[in-house]
Symmetry: D2
């Protein structure tokens, strides 16, 4: 399944990139395929359980750096048929230039 | 943590309530506190792992009924300080009538 | 169209209900049908333009109270066929008790 | 403000790229800076009113191609301080390699 994770730390001021990069370090450590964009990070995982482990680790890591509250937005595209990040973008782009 | 789950089955036509009610049956079976609204179901869980188990079960149940693709939107409000659904709504409503 | 609006003020500490209630005051002033839940406010509007006016007003109102950054999550269910908030919840609940 | 738009057409089968590319054509025609990713399209706009015009046009265009229902997820990062898509990604990436 293809998942976009957005992490919004609350109660630590207006500048968030320090915390976002900490979250991405967790994703890198888990060896999960990922791609950063201006509004989130897209990852490929095999189940919601795998996703849950990643998100719990992000929460714990940010909690340790002193973040008292975190707002997450997670969008998931699950498909029975095998697919991946590159295919999704490519199939849209092909149709753009028809 | 307080979580809102939205489930959008794709490829099974325009009418979705049959599938949404199947998803809510899973939540009920897990004995998780929940509250339905017109755009999702709000639940209280203790971790993303617990949430992951619920979402994997919803995915499997809908897959069995023939849904080939599902789009999920999940919003999560985690707070170090203990909180709950009722408190969140009450604290906003109190300030509305000041 | 049925819309759920979530407003997350950033850079004003951990407690947000004061700002959320300000956002709901804007919705009330616009005389838009709405329903508060623990993770957002569901409204019925006729177009994205109408929605845009409401959200710009919320942004301006919070900016005036000193909020330097706001994260919004907006989910929209548009349907050609007429529908409403109550119908969506009712059609799911009916199927739950079959 | 930086906005991520996700468009999920409902009731037109499982394959959606044809419709997504139609939505991106609208964004291109509006001459709005944008960037496609596997889970949405990130744009920069000046107000929710401007965003509303784009989304109404996307809705109308898809309705014309026969889509009876559309689910949208829109995430918005508004900041008083000027910012942009590139800056957001860069400020996170810099901290990743410290």
């Amino acid at each position: 399944m293809i998942v976009e994770i957005s992490v919004v730390p609350i109660g630590v001021g207006e500048s968030l990139s320090k915390y976002i990069s900490e979250a991405i370090k967790v994703i890198k450590e888990k060896n999960v395929k990922h791609e950063l964009n201006p509004m989130g990070t897209v990852v490929e995982v095999n189940s919601f359980l795998e996703l849950g482990e990643i998100l719990d680790e992000i929460k714990e890591r940010l909690e340790k750096t002193g973040v008292p509250r975190i707002y997450f937005t997670v969008k998931v595209d699950w498909r029975k048929k095998a697919t991946n990040m590159e295919y999704k973008v490519k199939s849209v782009q092909e149709k753009l230039f028809l």
